[in-house]
Point group: D2
Chain length 331, copies 4
């Protein structure tokens, strides 16, 4: 794995994947603005966990391929050590900041490296409630490892004539799985000799979502001032809210509306993209006497997918360009 | 796969696995007693989801193997249909009840079957909050598919001279992943030429747990009266609470105490068993100036495991035999 | 994980899983008898690879649970080291022999252990051909890691009054996936309101098989004399041959015939068991003009399964009790 | 998932993944040239299996997102049906040809589609030998489903003013796992405060490889004339042969040499790219008295990776530009 490409030059990089970093008692995430769709306002960061991928780039590495000359090679084992030890030195509260910090330290330490790209997939640990004399309380010692959706970010930093530059930065969510049991339809599509799917005026829609977003100013993503930072948890809650509210006519329809809402809510974002999968169940018993319930089963393996990026231009065309008012509506 | 065995006779059965059943608007789970360790008091069962495995047993099936005679074979595809359609007829609120209901209907429908065994692994869907004019509310339409721990149950029902009998019943939790960042130790073990593990007076302990429990009276597990039903969510919260409270000296030590607490809290249980895995991180930076934080990484693949069943006899030996008083202490 | 149980006493053990052992240049497996169904006659064991699980059992471990007393605990990390270092001392050529050797060394080294159970899953490495001046040759340096079926074995050794005893021993194959494109049928089963499966007079049958066998005399499985050792590769080839030859009427029918053939071929085996899964494709285009081809797709998730153990009594009932003549028919 | 992007315009497409297609008795692959590194000269294609992903692109789909207007939507379920039914009509012998055929039929059938992109991952079925009266023979009925490396291809076809054009085409291999037990080194790299890896003058090198290649003329990849078709099996065997022959100083060094050899052997290829992972074992016992064997174990999770594309320019710089002579050296 390691899906990194550089344009305009030969494809050449190397690095380390599955670098698991668990930093305890990192700086809490505070100061994020509250939005109407979400109760999320921060994280204590007692555990900041990530599975990271590091890639080093530079013309200096060419002879390691063509001549087997290792003299300029930073061993990938050393990269792992480098990242782990810098986790102790990181003073921020976000994976975006951490990835950027490590990229910059690499460029600072090894002058023959042209660029560094790091992806951090969050390994989330949920809070748990425990009971005692005084009733139920949130534990400050015990956490639950979550295998549900997680945040992700990619940062690339390049060496320039007079310093470094962030040449790529995205944030996102991987594998958010949401179902709406009623209020979704899918009809009106092309019917021909290849069509066997029946139309649905009301179906339970089960979606898997990957999201990725970019900022107008990258400093909002990576800086220590978190007032314009967009937490993945708030984007997740926008997804659930729009899904709940919209009588959607397809996943296409739904993700476009989620995108508009996210860009409306967060004027600091430039784009928000979606990779969606349709995992909708198949109906088996559609009518149960005396109940509004139904019985469904898992569909066959083939799943529909969509890929779409919503931009600020889309928002403007819809006449919904974000204003401060919208942003603070429920604050 | 399907790991079912019968004692005292030849090993022979067949069935269907990965039977995914999603029943919407099943009867809500209500009437469970509150315990001090947990806020759980019920489930709305808007989605009751399970991945089920069905096995049929009986001497009548022998000729299907020895002679390729299919005349008494219920096709496994039909078994799947049978279970899905009976999901529409099930009027209870638990997977234990559902599994038993389907076993009994199989025996009723096919007189040549001697016994039916069904395992139901829960496919959990979490509630989500959505935001609107009136602030945040729990959605009654949108749910999140969870890939974290899930409940599980196995039931076997046999035909007898005058009816049927439940010959096996267990309930459990699969893959509960909990970490305690401080307050666990492991020292005092045998040191010899094969020992390379350093002692730890305070380590972050990361455990994977599978649990399974049995009732004194199976009717408490499967019946429509849920007042003595033990929800997996409450057992999960007992695990977190005991983990939080105990300065544990090993996983062995911890699971024994969890088992005692569970049997103390639930006098209706006969046993509670544990399969635990140790996934504890490896330390990399143990001291960060100005912080109580540390840096850890994923351990090598080999993981320690434990298997232990705690019984009521253990509780009695400890002088902690459950009383009604203990059970309702925090009610 | 770690599925070990002891009868007649409390369930209590602990151990280490995912112990990966790669021993290079182990003693080649030689001296196995050739059978008509297979070209397999030995392995060079340049790489003997296994993923092992070790469980220690004994009453001495009870206080580690009940009192958190670690003084008799062999750390699971030490178990891993123990097994890895003994891989250097093992002088045999089979995983059965290696597992037994390590069990016995554990009992010898730690007098408070009552029993040791080890499962070794083979990690297979296939031979590859490489080309050169002299044409194609089998490489003695490069091997391909296979993710196809692999051998497996479980051995339990217990301490007795005057030494040790092997109390359990099975050998097997995991995840053999075979398809027969024509020559399988499935019809004549029960038709009722739950039946939607159409009968098939000729279907492509796709099966996943796990097999497990036991010996009359365990020494044939574990000893250094390999003349009665039954290699997993030969059992695999019996499966393919019987599948090829038999016009099967169901998986039940097929596995019974495979079992008879294996017991006929190997009089040293006592039993052979099967866990089979049906992964048969679904037909889409059944008739292509001018071709005997068809088009199929992956089935829905639910899969049929069978579990059956064939015994020597079955062979006798069929009048096919193994003779030396049958065994050496094609030698 | 579905990782397709279009340049120069908005990101928008949708489609179907996990479309499993099994075509029996497809046209055999014949007429490929023999190379010295490989015994591969063709496939019988009794089973041509693939897991396919289909993506449709076109401005006409925009309103399905922005307005929930499904009137121009080809349901993804219909796409699946379309592909399956066209598998019956495909008269060629390669996945490259099949993917192109289906792309073109889509553009022909639906005039509002601008482009179609299809990826086919091979699902390989290996030949097996079975035994009988006449000794061992290759079965023409039974095949083994392989989970080892598989071929893969991606094709994009766009509508143009006067027809269609193939705008993307790659072929490749996924997940080839090879180990060389001796004859690999890694030393001479940067040593600093982050270095803990010991140098190795002779290590067992275990690599995972993904490869992708492009042709000078796409017709060689997709056409019915297979004389310049490059089978994945031959590229696989070049990997094994170069690995066997080269005293490599790193994976970088190795993949560059594999790339040169492949471009030398196949003048019809333009580029060959590598994604390599290092899964090299960790040594435990390095010296066993009386044996050249050693004992190793699985490494920690972090793995090194490389990404590099070798081009014909590289071959020219090395003075090894392919000639007909080289190509037919061992024919």
């Amino acid at each position: 794995k390691g899906g990194f490409e550089m344009s305009n030059q030969r494809t050449m990089y190397y690095g380390k994947g599955d670098v698991f970093v668990f930093r305890t008692y990192a700086k809490p995430l505070e100061g994020v603005k509250r939005i109407p769709e979400s109760g999320f306002t921060g994280r204590n960061n007692v555990i900041l966990g990530t599975n990271a991928t590091i890639a080093l780039k530079g013309d200096a590495f060419l002879t390691s391929f063509t001549e087997g000359d290792n003299s300029l090679i930073v061993a990938t084992d050393s990269m792992k050590n480098f990242m782990l030890r810098h986790a102790a030195k990181y003073e921020g509260s976000t994976l975006e900041g951490f990835a950027t910090f490590v990229c910059e330290r690499f460029l600072e330490t090894y002058s023959h490296i042209d660029a560094v790209e790091i992806t951090c997939d969050e390994i989330p640990f949920d809070k748990v409630e425990v009971g005692g004399q005084s009733g139920l309380n949130e534990s400050d010692l015990v956490y639950r490892h979550s295998r549900n959706e997680h945040a992700t970010t990619t940062v690339e930093v390049k060496r320039t004539a007079n310093g470094t530059e962030i040449t790529k930065q995205t944030s996102g969510i991987s594998q958010l799985h949401l179902i709406k049991v009623s209020g979704s339809s899918f009809y009106g599509y092309i019917k021909d000799e290849y069509t066997t799917l029946p139309e649905a005026k009301d179906r339970p829609l089960f979606i898997y979502l990957n999201l990725d977003w970019t900022y107008n100013n990258v400093i909002d993503a990576i800086g220590s001032d978190t007032s314009n930072y967009v937490p993945a948890e708030q984007i997740r809650d926008i997804c659930a809210t729009v899904f709940n509210d919209l009588e959607n006519r397809s996943i296409q329809h739904l993700i476009y509306e989620i995108g508009l809402r996210a860009l409306e809510r967060f004027p600091q974002l430039a784009t928000i993209g979606f990779e969606s999968n349709n995992k909708t169940w198949e109906p088996v018993v559609e009518d149960i006497p005396g109940s509004k319930g139904q019985v469904f089963t898992e569909p066959r393996p083939p799943y529909g997918f969509q890929r779409f990026i919503v931009t600020r231009e889309d928002l403007e065309k819809e006449g919904r360009a974000a204003s401060g008012a919208a942003h603070t509506a429920k604050a």
